[in-house]
């Protein structure tokens, strides 16, 4: 009986612990995240104390050595409590890109940065997008050149999560944070000339600028400029020229978590809207008893159930890949499918659920309304939906049928 939808007892323990924390400390303050446009630092520090920033890192580096499925369970509980997805971003970006940084970082890097990332002393973000390059990353202008025993990096990254939290020391994280940053080391080689570096945003030669994000306002979103930032060689993540490929692997990770966040967020939005629709009466009966509402609910719930299962399959695929049991391309196909499906299912479900509230739901204080804004970000974040379509089609139809792009 190889297919099993049951979680292990340890995983249930993790879930109940995180749920207790999330219900007690996160849920009551979510509206504040959006209003003040920040996550109260004590919540993040408590997450660090619980070990939530060290889920995947091996115990040898101070982490918990757990697997992506368990990391997903933690994410589920965070999303259930915070439908603005602000904490989901903080958690899933660090979890997926931190893992990739660990995997490809050298021993010195692990001892220096991963050890601190595992305890929540330093946050790890991702920076690939630039003003002139998003889906087509070959258009990036950021470049790194060798300089003695390190590199000097110059360029600009845009629409990046967590720039403020990484820039400031001692507020959310004792040492601030840094972003896994994509740069050319040899532009002539296009995507084969890209390299990833860990760039601490606390560096004085990094300046940040914040955007006014449409939703999920608790975790900052903005750009940063690298004015000849010097990093030691150990901050290079993987070999020179491998940056693009490692980034693609990191996206696979992030997409699996995003798919799960969307599936769970959609379900939670339905649950919350349903609480209201059961109380609210119109035309002599509860709104929830109308078939128009129920059929909508059924279609959405079924889609979310499917998205939920597929998201866990994606996390399982990441685990199988860690164990060398399935290949890269298969993981990419599953994770891209999961994101493609879950984002759309969640957007529709949340949009429909918000309608059950009527005018009452259309406020900045309704978590379901905040969720609608949040999931909209996944039209593009960590790979746009059309890029997901390209990937799935490429892997299913065959690479030899990929349309030629100039």
């Amino acid at each position: 009986m190889p297919v099993d939808f049951e979680f292990a007892k340890e995983q249930e323990d993790v879930r109940s612990t995180v749920r207790e924390f999330a219900e007690k400390y996160i849920a009551p303050r979510v509206v504040e995240f959006e209003e003040k446009q920040l996550i109260p630092p004590e919540i993040v520090r408590e997450m660090s104390r619980l070990g939530l920033f060290g889920i995947l890192f091996p115990e040898q580096y101070g982490g918990l050595g757990l697997d992506p499925v368990t990391a997903g369970i933690v994410l589920e509980e965070i999303v259930r409590a915070d439908l603005t997805f602000s904490l989901a971003v903080a958690y899933l970006v660090h979890t997926s890109w931190g893992y990739v940084a660990y995997k490809y970082g050298n021993e010195e890097f692990r001892e220096d940065v991963i050890r601190r990332a595992a305890t929540g002393d330093v946050w790890i973000g991702i920076a690939t997008t630039e003003p002139g390059a998003g889906s087509d990353l070959t258009g990036i202008a950021t470049a790194a050149r060798r300089d003695g025993d390190g590199y000097v990096i110059a360029g600009e990254k845009a629409y990046i999560s967590g720039v403020r939290e990484a820039k400031e020391r001692g507020v959310w994280f004792p040492d601030g944070g840094g972003h896994v940053t994509l740069a050319y080391t040899d532009k002539s080689k296009q995507h084969r000339g890209m390299t990833l570096f860990f760039v601490p945003l606390t560096d004085p030669n990094v300046s940040i600028r914040l955007e006014k994000e449409f939703g999920r306002k608790g975790w900052s979103f903005g750009s940063f400029v690298l004015s000849d930032v010097r990093v030691p060689e150990r901050y290079r993540i993987g070999e020179e020229g491998r940056g693009f490929y490692i980034a693609m692997e990191g996206f696979d990770h992030a997409r699996a978590y995003i798919a799960l966040a969307c599936a769970v967020g959609g379900k939670r939005a339905i649950e919350l809207a349903l609480e209201y629709a059961k109380q609210r009466r119109a035309f002599g009966q509860p709104v929830a008893s109308f078939q128009g509402v129920q059929f909508q609910l059924a279609d959405n719930w079924a889609a979310l159930e499917a998205a939920h299962a597929l998201a866990y399959k994606a996390l399982w695929a990441l685990k199988m890949e860690q164990e060398g049991r399935i290949g890269r391309f298969e993981v990419t196909r599953i994770t891209a499918s999961a994101k493609l499906f879950a984002v759309q299912a969640a957007k529709r479900a949340i949009d429909d659920a918000l309608r059950w509230y009527g005018a009452y739901g259309y406020t900045e204080e309704n978590p379901v309304a905040l969720a609608l804004k949040a999931v909209k970000s996944y039209d593009w974040a960590e790979g746009s939906l059309d890029i997901m379509r390209l990937i799935v089609a490429r892997e299913v139809v065959g690479r030899e049928y990929t349309s030629k792009r100039k």
């Binding site: 340890e10 993790v14 612990t17 995180v18 207790e20 007690k24 619980l50 889920i55």
Partner: protein, 271 residues
């Protein structure tokens, strides 16, 4: 001065889950998920804080069916060093008198094994029966002082413990000889949420399951036979809310109208 602290922990039906009743009105516990009685977690927190301050060991003692071992791991994650689960079919049906006797027997065994127990802590009541009997009764069986409604443990030393105890309209500071039983109120000791590392480590700790014989329990004093309490009937109490608007301008007449409404509903007014 390292202290050995025993903390009494009752696995109860999850108060957050829907409770199912049998046709005879008793709670169907067979399918229900068990959790640690929420009131007991304050006692566990107090015990762990004592250990952090003075050193020593914290041992939890529970009486429940064997599958309750899972729920008890929660207190192991909070910092309890070892857990004893007293589990024996002969204990089924025990009321608070029989239960407190059985728990006392375990504590006596632990005294021998640990070379003394300094404090026994428990919650002020349980979420499933709310009697508040167990703490004082354990004190009686062991022949040691017990203090209920303890807000905070103030000082421990010279073979005594002084505590701040909640009383109606204020508090009293009470000093008793050790060993003693303290029922910890849910006021000062907010239970910690353990780190995931501690939660996972708790899975690797053993819950020792003891039979009645392991604890040297006299079978005639436990179970239905040893329990003088009889549950005659259980029924659901429906709490109906209603809103009545009294629109009298004169306060005296408004009060009269209010009293009249309350009397009509049979509310005992004591006047």
């Amino acid at each position: 001065m390292p202290m050995n602290v025993v903390v009494l922990v009752k696995p109860v039906v999850d108060p957050k889950a829907a409770v199912r009743f049998r046709p005879d009105g008793t709670i169907d516990r067979s399918a229900a998920k068990l959790v640690v009685n929420p009131y007991d977690k304050h006692a566990v927190e107090a015990a762990v804080q004592l250990k952090e301050r003075f050193g020593g060991r914290v041992v939890s003692v529970s009486m429940a069916p064997p599958h309750a071992a899972d729920a008890i791991r929660e207190v192991l994650a909070m910092g309890v060093d070892e857990a004893v689960l007293l589990s024996d079919p002969r204990l089924a049906g025990s009321d608070t008198l029989a239960t407190s006797y059985a728990l006392s027997a375990v504590i006596r065994r632990l005294e021998q094994r640990l070379g003394g127990v300094d404090l026994v802590l428990c919650g002020i009541e349980t979420s499933d029966s709310n009697t508040g009997h167990i703490g004082p009764e354990v004190g009686e069986w062991l022949g040691i002082p017990s203090v209920s409604y303890v807000d905070r443990i103030l000082e421990v030393g010279d073979g005594r413990v002084s505590v701040k105890r909640l009383i109606e309209g204020g508090y009293a500071v009470v000093r008793v000889k050790l060993p003693a039983v303290l029922s910890i109120a849910g006021t000062s000791y907010q239970p910690r949420i353990p780190s995931l590392r501690d939660v996972l480590a708790a899975r690797r700790k053993q819950v020792a399951v003891w039979s009645a014989d392991d604890a040297g329990i006299d079978p005639s004093l436990v179970g239905i036979a040893g329990s003088p309490t009889r549950v005659v009937r259980m029924w659901r109490v429906e709490i109906k809310r209603k809103g009545v608007v009294i629109s009298e301008a004169d306060p005296d007449r408004a009060v009269d109208r209010l009293l009249e409404e309350l009397r009509k509903d049979g509310v005992p007014l004591g006047v």
